[in-house]
């Protein structure tokens, strides 16, 4: 999960509601018209959410554009990790996927259909890629891919194995190793070889699993961790704590590389200056023929200069009025409004960019009662929250937990979601809420006990307003509240992410999936055994044995369609139990210059894809 | 009659202020001759400093209105262009001020400040000016002048600073030196040294001096003439002897009474003049002094007294009391009669005033004890004691 950029979106774009509210009705109507559509799994969620001002990312042109030129990329935020083993942030991904080749990837216009990147085909049961009832996954890789200088040799499957195995090295500390937990030997690994990974020849890598989790592993192999890393080069650097691979030097396999010294591979101070700039240049060792027809990055641009820092309200106009530039991080609210009003063809809103919800403590206090949770959900004015977050351009009312663009979204009911009385009214319904309060044993429909509910939320941007909406909707039910507003990082690390703090409600938490498998949306957040004492992401401490079992069952379903259905069932159970209150499904705004033919990565919250973006006049 | 060095005629200086027009100087006339010393005496706010600053053009400004004539060396200083007047300042006319510490620039060496004064009026080389600066310091009695000339004002004692100020003022051999309260900030022994120095320098260099003070005692010894100012006007003017021997104005009496007298056998308290100086914006009607005058009559609130000759001589006074009454009251003051009886004296004399009271005055005063040598001598006593000092350093000035 990557809540990082999303949370900032929520904070910054929120004010947009005032300026863009007028346009809201039209996109509202069109979205309700198409809700429930998208029955095929391919881009199901995305195509049903028409939120474009300019080019809709789903329909974007990918091939046949002009080659050459230098793109200037503005980003007020810096990158975090440029090591494929560590990288876990939308902005980092924009660089990672342009320079590194994981086994699988998503094309820019898809957020749920994987295609081979370094691999030669997608493993399936029919092509022998998935065997042993989903417990063995075999992947073949392209034979002629080369690392950039100074390594400059052909990539082998051993490089992929090393890349994944080093993720368990504490000096690398990959943040999503649990997706590989079913690989044999993974749980005890500390950086050395895993018994469950074998490389029978230079172009084949085999994963042996403890459970039939082939789909999950395949999904996870689309993450940067599976991009090959040469052990002779990175191994010595991994001895440093933390590793210097990705902070000092790195080699690339993708069409671009971070500009570095060809003799040493060192980019620090050259292609990357912390907080200042990052430069991508063409990788001379890259061979465009080493791809399948499903995915052939055209790599139009000659050079990408990322300019780090600066004020969003300056960067935005620079991009909109300037040329050959895009903004990588989230535009300021004033800029989104400016773009929408005056440069509508230069802004896109990418659906499926995450969700927000109110985490309710299922384990302690008042919200252990399912009917109280339903009552609070029924009364929550989600329309008001969306307005605070930026209006209908940047958010759709959420009705359940699998958000658009994930497998199982359509099966879970699309935008309308599972039909229950408490998710029907986006403006909140006091009468419905009172029914559930009565069902919870409060005869008047109002809470009459003495407990005070602890609400903790972020103080960034418009989050305080959202906290207030929840607060007033709760107090309308007679619930006594105590509200705390803290910095977002503090909210996660000191309050909502620490179960023993017994925080009853966290109204400003959000989630971004890692890949299209609904597990990456639901597991960490609602699976009981995933609860940890600190740094916990199951903020509501949801631990229902039936739901847990259903998740395990879905996780172990090998057939993709059946798996999607199984996750949709989990979603229904979560809704039925009202384990949390979904607020909105987010859309990410992105801006570009008028002479840029930008390409949004639908699967990466709309981040610009440097391999597919081109210039009109290079 | 030879022309005086400085002849001031009907000088009027007023300033516009937020509260109204301030009549700082209101028609005063005086003259100083070369080699002579004029003392201008009065409380603060009497206009004495304004009149002397006007001499140097330092009161000029958009808010100031200056009228009258001020002839110096055949030129009217009041109509002189700014630049011409600047050339007079510090050259023909020099001035020293009350507080020698704040009057010297704290950031510049004493010598530098002297050199600056010389170079702004003479074309003189820096080294020559430096030598002359040391000579000037020596002239005013500063020991080790070659070292002192390169010291800063804060390294000098109060008395030495004033000596340095005098040296600076005299460095261009002025024809007229205006000393504005030159001793007020100094302690008594140093005061006497400075006064003696001024007198000595005048003897040697022959310049005219105007000494401005609130303390009649200061001018008692060195002034030839004294003008007493009150509320912007001269209320009495005469030779030093006249002022001390037969003062004519009740204000002068007050000033004389407030001189400390070292020889006074009794533990007599000084008699300050009661009340406060009047506002120069809304001056009292009639005789400006009437609110503070113990002898004022109702008519004095309406009649503005002119400055008139006493006994037809050069001694002038502006008082509505009859001359004989004034003489009797002064005699009464000298002999220590209490204020109530003096007031009665002034009041009972009121009726015959119209016809003239020359005959009655000695009658009533004749029974009074012998007035002795007169207050002039007595008041001179302390000054004379100090003046025996030659212009050398006091012990406190030893480095």
């Amino acid at each position: 999960m990557r809540t990082y950029r999303k949370a900032i979106v929520g904070a910054i774009v929120a004010v947009l509601a005032l300026g863009v509210a007028a346009c809201g009705s039209s996109s509202n109507s069109s979205s309700s018209k198409s809700s429930g559509g998208g029955s095929t799994s391919n881009s199901a969620g995305a195509s049903s959410v028409p939120l474009k001002a300019g080019e809709n990312p789903v329909g974007q042109t990918l091939y046949g554009k002009k080659k050459g030129g230098t793109l200037t990329v503005y980003s007020s935020e810096d990158f975090e990790h440029l090591d494929p083993g560590e990288s876990y942030f939308e902005l980092d991904y924009a660089v990672m996927y342009a320079t590194q080749r994981p086994l699988f990837t998503y094309p820019p216009n898809s957020n749920d259909t994987l295609v081979p990147d370094l691999a030669t085909e997608m493993p399936t049961t029919s092509n022998g890629g998935i065997t042993d009832g989903g417990k063995t996954v075999t992947v073949h890789i392209q034979p002629n891919v080369k690392f950039s200088a100074p390594v400059s040799r052909v990539v082998t499957s051993k490089d992929v194995a090393f890349a994944i195995e080093r993720g368990a090295n504490p000096n690398v500390a990959n943040p999503y190793m649990e997706y590989f937990a079913s690989v044999k030997g993974a749980s005890s690994a500390k950086g050395g070889p895993w018994s469950g990974i074998s490389t029978p020849n230079n172009t084949t890598i085999v994963f042996h699993l403890n459970a039939p989790q082939a789909q999950l592993i395949i999904g996870a192999l689309s993450l940067p961790l599976s991009a090959p890393v040469p052990q002779e080069f990175a191994g010595p650097m991994d001895k440093h704590a933390p590793t210097t691979y990705g902070t000092q030097a790195e080699v690339a396999t993708g069409p671009y590389m971070i500009e570095s010294n060809p003799k040493t591979g060192v980019f620090a101070g050259l292609g990357y200056q912390t907080g200042k700039s990052l430069t991508l240049v063409r990788n001379p060792n890259w061979d465009p023929s080493t791809y399948t027809s499903a995915f052939k990055p055209p790599a139009y641009l000659d050079r990408i200069n990322v300019d780090i820092g600066g004020d969003p309200s300056v960067i935005g106009p620079q991009v909109l009025k300037g040329s050959d530039s895009v903004q990588l991080d989230t535009p300021a609210n004033s800029v989104v409004k400016l773009a929408y009003d005056s440069y509508p063809s230069q802004i896109t809103f990418t659906p499926g960019s995450g969700d927000h919800y109110v985490a309710l403590d299922n384990a302690h206090g008042l919200f252990t009662n399912v009917n109280v949770r339903r009552a609070v959900w029924a009364n929550l004015d989600r329309a008001a929250i969306i307005k605070e977050r930026g209006g209908t351009l940047t958010g759709e009312p959420a009705t359940h937990f699998i958000y658009p663009g994930n497998q199982g979204f359509a099966q879970a009911g699309g935008l309308a979601g599972p039909q229950v009385p408490w998710n029907k009214d986006v403006n909140g319904s006091l009468s419905v809420a009172e029914q559930y309060m009565k069902a919870a044993g409060y005869k008047t429909g109002k809470y009459t006990g003495n407990q005070t509910v602890q609400i903790v939320g972020a103080n960034n941007g418009n989050d305080p307003a959202i906290i207030q909406i929840l607060n007033s909707d709760m107090t309308a039910l007679g619930i006594k509240t105590h509200v705390s507003e803290v910095d977002q990082s503090v909210m996660y690390s000191k309050y909502c992410g620490v179960p023993k703090q017994n925080i009853d409600a966290c109204p400003t938490v959000g989630w971004i999936r890692d890949f299209a498998d609904p597990l990456t949306t639901l597991y960490e957040t609602f699976y009981g055994p995933a609860i940890v004492p600190t740094n916990n992401s199951n903020w509501g401490q949801v631990n229902d044995p039936q739901i847990n079992a259903a998740m395990v069952q879905a996780e172990n379903t090998v057939d993709p369609t059946a798996a999607a259905q199984a996750w949709a069932n989990v979603d229904k159970m979560l809704v039925n139990d009202a384990v949390a209150i979904p607020e909105d499904f987010d859309n990410q705004a992105n801006i570009e210059s008028g002479d840029v033919v930008g390409s949004d990565d639908l699967w990466d919250t709309g981040s610009w894809d440097f391999m597919f973006t081109s210039l009109k006049n290079p | 009659m030879t022309e005086a060095l400085l002849q001031v005629d009907d000088l009027r200086v007023s300033f516009d202020s937020e509260d109204g027009v301030v009549h700082a100087v209101d028609g005063i006339s005086y003259a100083v001759d070369t080699g002579k010393t004029l003392g201008i005496v009065g409380e603060s706010g009497s206009g004495k400093s304004v009149s002397s600053l006007t001499t140097l053009g330092l009161t000029r400004g958009p808010r100031a209105k200056i009228e009258g004539r001020m002839m110096f060396n055949g030129r009217d200083l009041l109509t002189l262009p700014d630049e011409d007047l600047r050339k007079v300042r510090g050259d023909d006319i020099a001035m020293i001020f009350q507080d020698p510490l704040s009057a010297l620039h704290p950031f510049y060496k004493v010598g530098v400040q002297l050199i600056e004064a010389m170079q702004s009026h003479r074309s003189i080389s820096k080294s020559a000016a430096h030598t002359r600066a040391a000579e000037m310091l020596e002239l005013v009695g500063i020991p080790d002048p070659k070292r002192r000339v390169d010291q800063y004002p804060h390294e000098f004692s109060g008395g030495m600073r004033q000596r340095a100020m005098i040296a600076m003022a005299l460095s261009n051999e002025p024809k007229l030196l205006i000393a504005d309260e030159p001793t007020t900030a100094l302690d008594v022994t140093v005061q006497a040294q400075i006064l003696a120095l001024l007198q000595d320098l005048q003897d040697r260099l022959g310049m005219a001096i105007i000494i401005i003070t609130h303390d009649l005692g200061v001018v008692a010894e060195i002034a030839d003439d004294i003008a007493v100012m009150y509320a912007g006007r001269i209320v009495e003017r005469g030779t030093t002897e006249e002022i001390f021997h037969s003062p004519q104005h009740p204000y002068t009496w007050g000033l004389l009474s407030s001189i400390p007298r070292l020889d006074n056998p009794r533990d007599e308290e000084l008699v300050p003049i009661s009340g406060r100086p009047p506002s120069l914006i809304n001056r009292p009607s009639g005789c400006h002094f009437h609110p503070r005058c113990p002898y004022a009559r109702d008519a004095h609130k309406r009649v503005d007294p002119p400055l008139e000759a006493v006994n037809g001589g050069t001694h002038l006074a502006a008082c509505l009391l009859e001359g004989t009454v004034r003489t009797r009251i002064w005699d009464g003051i000298r002999t220590g009669r209490d204020l109530e009886s003096l007031k009665r004296l002034a009041a009972t004399s009121a009726q015959p005033v119209v016809e003239g009271d020359a005959a009655t005055a000695p009658e009533s005063e004749g029974t009074q004890p012998e007035p002795g040598e007169g207050s002039l001598v007595e008041s001179e006593q302390p000054a004379r004691e100090h003046s025996t000092e030659t212009p050398f350093m006091g012990p406190e000035e030893m480095p």
């Binding site: 999960m1 809540t3 503005y74 810096d78 975090e80 990790h81 560590e86 876990y88 504490p170 000096n171 500390a173 943040p175 190793m177 440093h240 704590a241 933390p242 210097t244 902070t247 620090a268 200056q273 912390t274 907080g275 200042k276 300019d307 820092g309 600066g310 004020d311 300056v314 106009p317 620079q318 009025k321 300037g322 803290v486 990082s489 503090v490 690390s493 000191k494 940890v532 004492p533 600190t534 740094n535 992401s537 | 600047r86 007079v88 300042r89 510090g90 020099a94 001020f97 507080d99 704040s102 009057a103 010297l104 620039h105 704290p106 950031f107 060496k109 004064a117 702004s120 800063y152 804060h154």
Partner: protein
Amino acid sequence: MARYIVRRILWGILLLVLVSALTFLIFDVFPSANPAQLRAGRNASPAIIHHITVELGLNHSLPVQFWDYMKGIFLHFNFGYSYYSQQSVLSLIVNRLPATLSLTVGAVVLWVLAGIPVGIISAIKRGSFLDRAAMGVALTFVSMPVFWLALILLYFFASDIGKFPILPGANTYVGLTSDPGKWFTSLILPWLVLAATQAAIYSRLLRGNLLEVMGEDYIRTARAKGLPERRVIWRHGVRSAITPVVTVLGLDIGGLLGGAVLTETVFEIHGIGLLNYDAILHSDFPIVQGTTLLAAMFIIVANIVVDIGYAYLDPRVKYS
């Protein structure tokens, strides 16, 4: 004097140690995210976070961490490494300092050249239209938020986004050594922004001082000596009135060298201020500590220089 300077420097070093200690305390007391966790990513297992905690030395008690930090500085002149980029804090600061230096020096020259004459003229022409106009403008500049002024200037004059595109805008800064011409033009707007407020403050300060000084006895003396008015104003009036301004100037320069966060952010000049700002956002404590120390050091040095300078400017002041 030498003894005095040595003593002041020793005190300054002690003060820096105290500043470090205080920074340590502040970071410990105020709720902030665990740096090890930020380093590890939000999904990292507790074991990994623990590992990183140990690597960063965060498992030690605060005094021990502080002791280690001090040892690093005094024994190896090592100011630690960024939690995020692992780069040496010292090298980051050295890398960023030229930009901040450029920004500061130009702005100082500008505001001194603007503020001092305006202050003097206002004082001399007190109450005139010129004085009122100048002080009105100064008051406006003083009350204007730097951030806002910067944005306004960019929206008006920046060559990329301005209504009157005449000057290089944000993100155009280049080092002096790489292109002096571009360096200069790219800094014009930032200099103006930084200088505007300061020039206003200085002109008001100087005007007030000079008005006070011109009422001093020694000014009357200077006039009585017959000095030309110009000399009275400059040699006697301004000389005194400017002394406190020089003091303030020294401290302001010291403060600015610690980084002009707002100006650097808006104009995207990668100086110390932006480095510090980013570090705070990332809870990158070693950098915050380093930039804080640097800022404190500049202020302490500025204080010492100002005090020594004062002894030359005002002969009454003596140190021993």
